[in-house]
Subunit: 106 residues, 2 copies
DNA sequence: TTGACATGATACCATATGGTGTCATTTTAA
DNA sequence: TTAAAATGACACCATATGGTATCATGTCAA
């Protein structure tokens, strides 16, 4: 399996992307995160596990609470994968040019 | 629903990411794509539909075949969303610093 | 030491997802 | 005109996914 797969999978859910944004401000406990999520704590916990599997966050027990911390570096490989396509953004304009040329001769 | 959701969902599957890479070289028919995918044409077609829902490709009937074309621009919003976190890549190094300081005083 | 707090861990459920097989329809080449 | 090629459209299946409810366990504060 591609090492990117767990990260891409984690990013596919809107709740998980929202959690990432919140964790970018500061680390939070599971209960804190749950306050914003409109679902049970158990569901939030599951999302956190998926995020951790994607290495996008780190969970650390601290006394009776568990702090989740963003690991933004893990997004780097994802951005790199997507960056491959940046060169095609302009190239598509070229294709549009070709298309227009053909239409001119029709 | 966030306009990004269909794109993130489409990117979550390795087969679909592979198809995007292949389409970056040239547009292909469904049968051509299927040759590389180790699954039936029907399954590939489903993936193509998901990619189209994410606006990542465009399908166009051409006689008896359907040509799939990459729409790389649709990846731009995805990259933009991820770029928000770039500023935290360095900030995490700062956090590491804090952590090390604390350990020094322990 | 004792109850409330914050979780971990499960069991269970409905739906979404990823695949297959099959059949109808349109198009092309002989 | 006719069979093969290339799809579209379904029906069907097993699993994964996203949520809930519940109960056990460790921890903190009074």
């Amino acid at each position: 399996m591609s090492p990117l797969q767990p990260a891409f999978r984690a990013l596919a859910d809107p709740t998980r992307r929202d959690i990432l944004r919140r964790l970018s401000a500061r680390q939070m406990t599971i209960s804190e995160i749950t306050l914003h999520c409109d679902m049970t704590r158990a569901a939030v916990k599951k999302h956190l596990v998926v995020l951790e599997e994607g290495n996008l966050i780190h969970m650390q027990r601290q006394g009776r609470e568990t702090l989740s911390t963003l690991n933004a570096e893990a997004l780097k490989p994802v951005v790199d994968w997507l960056s491959y396509f940046e060169s095609f953004w302009d190239e598509n304009l070229t294709n549009l040019h070709d298309l227009l040329s053909k239409e001119d001769t029709t």
